[in-house]
């Protein structure tokens, strides 16, 4: 993984002292709260319902054990003993004191971490496929390009006061695990016929109150042109993105209102002036950043094949866990392991300090010291020998980290909702917990199969409900919480926006409604092989609506 050099260390140290000075000036009243707000947001500090919240960047979701231990230490020392992993591969602390935040940032800097641009109307933490560097289907590791973008976008003088936040995601496989079509810029690393690397470039995806999938503006942008082309996009957006209404300020609205052909022509015209300039990436620089992401040397461990078969036979719980949470690695003797942060009835994405320490220890012992955070709010150990799966499973089990539900109905994405968030209209966490409890039986989950439920507590859609196979949106109606359901969304390479079923459901009805939808799917599917999303795409929304609203009088 990337390691800071002296320049990076000095930069982050300078950024910490800059923020310390800003906090001091805020406390003496030299800066108004109004003017301080964007400054603290650009360092990840939110003011939430009950307290400040600090969002720490995990660039492209990659951590080592030293960093994970530091995150545990911060949870224990400055917070209430836990942290919350987010849909943008970051971690949030919900209870830090503002006066402690400069000290937390100094602690983070010791392990080459920061909270720079995890919020604010600037270029946010760049995300990537959580299986990068291990997946068999990628053309190359996308993370070096995410790192180049991370560096280039840090305290960018031209792009720190954009119309709205700006999110970039990078993937390197046809199978999109980074949800690039829901990002302001989505980049798919690919190879052309000559074997050269470049990017398909997508712009204008986003969720919020106007969900729009991104449009492709380039089929193959040579890798050397990455920064100049992104600069051209950013400049056109900074100059022309709407600033009269924050709900219409994302680049998706500019793309929609201008038209992708015209906007793309403006970007190309701007890029003509930039493409041969200082931002052209020299091959040597790309190679030097790539060298940091050399895969670990994986020794042959063929004994794991036989052992794995025997272990699975003797322990059905282990077999279930392997079936759900273990994916093939490009090295046949190894696997990629998903550590579920979705225990049945738990809070999606939360991890205690003890669990973070356990993951750090296990990453060192079994996984070449690499950990990933996924946008689905789980953790991944990307390089585990098949021969180590059983002892790893035992250890995870002991720390409550072996829930075998990756991709199942209880692997729910949920935003913090009204329990924490100042923007929320409704609670998300209790809804997730109740659904998780209702469907927690392993046999029932297995029967239902792949099904993504995503829950947002307000229209800002942090819980990605628009791209949930089943999306749940909490709204407020006449002072009470109400939950709208949408169906058929997807955030992968076949991305789609879910369609609202109709009238919303009260808190005590929502889990029943989800059960009605699930039962309808089970009754309608052509075979056990047909997943929920496949079935929905075949039969459409009507059978689900009929089931949900048939007893209209009774429900009302």
């Amino acid at each position: 993984m990337y390691r800071y050099d002296e320049f990076d260390h000095a930069f982050v140290a300078a950024r910490v002292s800059q923020f310390r000075d800003q906090v001091e000036r805020r406390l003496t009243g030299e800066i108004s709260e109004d003017a301080f707000k964007p400054l603290r947001l650009m360092n990840g500090v939110y003011l939430q319902l009950h307290a400040y919240m600090l969002r720490v960047a995990v660039p492209y979701g990659t951590l080592d054990s030293r960093q994970m231990r530091k995150l545990a230490h911060i949870a224990r020392t400055y917070d209430r003993g836990y942290g919350h992993f987010t849909t943008r591969q970051n971690i949030q602390y919900n209870w830090p004191k503002l006066s402690d935040i400069p000290a937390i940032l100094e602690e983070l800097a010791e392990v080459e971490m920061h909270a720079i641009q995890t919020s604010g109307n600037c270029i946010r933490n760049v995300t990537a496929d959580h299986f990068a560097g291990a997946a068999a289907d990628e053309v190359a590791d996308p993370r070096p390009y995410a790192e180049i973008l991370r560096q280039w976008s840090s305290v960018h003088p031209e792009f720190s006061f954009l119309p709205r936040k700006f999110k970039i995601a990078v993937t390197a496989a046809e199978r999109d695990r980074a949800a690039i079509q829901t990002h302001d810029i989505g980049l798919q690393l690919k190879k052309n016929d000559q074997g050269e690397l470049g990017f398909a470039v997508w712009i204008g995806g986003g969720q919020g109150r106007t969900p729009i999938l991104a449009k492709k503006v380039r089929d193959f942008l040579p890798e050397a042109d990455l920064l100049s082309y992104v600069t051209a996009i950013m400049r056109v957006y900074n100059l022309h993105g709407r600033r009269d209404n924050k709900y219409k300020a994302r680049i998706k609205i500019l793309v929609h209102e201008t038209g992708v052909e015209q906007l793309s022509a403006e970007i190309e015209a701007e890029w003509q002036h930039l493409k041969d300039g200082e931002l052209k990436l020299p091959e040597a620089d790309i190679a030097a950043i790539n060298a940091y992401f050399e895969p670990p040397k994986l020794a042959p461990r063929a004994e794991g094949w036989g052992e794995l078969a025997a272990w699975k036979k003797s322990d059905p719980g282990f077999a279930d866990w392997v079936g759900r949470n273990v994916a093939p690695h490009r090295h046949p003797d190894y696997a990629m392991v998903t550590i579920s942060l979705k225990p049945i009835g738990g809070i999606p994405g939360d991890a205690s300090a003890a669990q973070m320490d356990a993951v750090a220890r296990l990453a060192e012992e079994f996984a070449h010291d690499e950990i990933r955070v996924t946008h689905e709010q789980n953790l991944v150990l990307p390089h585990v020998a098949l021969a180590d799966l059983e002892p790893l499973y035992r250890a995870l089990l002991a720390d409550g980290l072996a829930t075998a539900n990756a991709g199942l109905i209880t692997d729910i994405i949920a935003c913090p909702g009204l329990d924490y968030c100042a923007l929320a209209n409704a609670r998300s966490i209790p809804v997730a917990q109740e659904i998780s409890n209702r469907f927690g039986d392993p046999a029932r989950q297995a029967e239902i199969g792949d099904l993504k439920i995503k829950i947002s507590g307000c229209i800002n859609a942090c819980g990605h409900h628009h791209v949930g196979h089943i999306g749940i949106l909490g709204v407020e109606k006449k002072g009470a919480e109400l939950y709208q359901i949408s169906l058929g969304g997807s955030g992968d390479e076949n991305a789609s926006i879910g369609q609202i079923t109709g009238r919303g459901f009260e808190p005590h009805q929502i889990t029943d409604a989800i059960e009605t939808i699930v039962d309808t799917y089970l009754a309608q599917r052509s075979s056990t092989e047909e997943t929920f999303i496949e079935c929905y795409r075949r039969i459409g929304a009507d059978p689900f609506k009929a089931a949900l609203y048939s007893s209209e009088a009774e429900a009302a």
């Binding site: 400049r235 100059l239 620089d285």
Partner: protein, 163 residues
């Protein structure tokens, strides 16, 4: 009180901030500036964020100062206008930030090519007068300011000493 600040300090008797009634030259909006280009006297231009700076290209040689407006500190369009003026149009004259100019934005303004600042906010004036800017001297990207190549990678820059 509004002052004009540059990296040399607070500017006394800045002609462009004298009231017109006292004989000060006028900063012209874009449309007027384009009409005015036939006159011989030097003139200044004040642009709004929605103005296309490239319209100035034919008359830029005769412009003595360009003021770019920040209607609010959160409106960052003038950063891109500044980059276009310096990098695309090659403008080398004075470029002034007007509107809401606050301390924490000044280092970013300097990087994008601004060299004078009309400041009203008293705590900002105090810190600028003391030359205590809150900027970072290490940069991960080229901009319009004078910098040295940074170590490691082509996109990095470091501030000029005593810049």
């Amino acid at each position: 009180m509004t002052v004009i600040w540059t990296q040399d300090g607070i500017v006394e008797d800045d002609p462009w901030s004298q009231p017109e009634s006292e004989g000060g030259p006028k900063l012209l909006p874009l449309a007027e500036a384009l009409d005015h280009a036939q006159d011989n006297a030097p003139f200044g231009v004040v642009l709004q964020p929605a103005d296309d700076v490239r319209a100035l290209a034919p008359i830029l040689e005769r412009v003595a100062i360009v003021a770019l407006t920040f209607p609010a500190f959160s409106d960052g369009r003038a950063f891109s206008q500044a980059m276009l003026l310096r990098e695309r149009l090659g403008y080398q004259g004075e470029m002034r930030a007007v509107g809401t100019v606050l301390l924490d934005q000044v280092p970013l303004m300097l990087r994008t090519g601004f060299d004078s600042f009309e400041v009203e906010h008293a705590p900002t004036i105090k810190r600028l007068a003391e030359k205590r800017l809150p900027g970072i001297d290490l940069h991960y990207q080229p901009a319009a300011d004078e910098t040295r190549a940074g170590p490691g990678y082509s996109w990095r820059r470091t501030a000029m000493l005593n810049g």
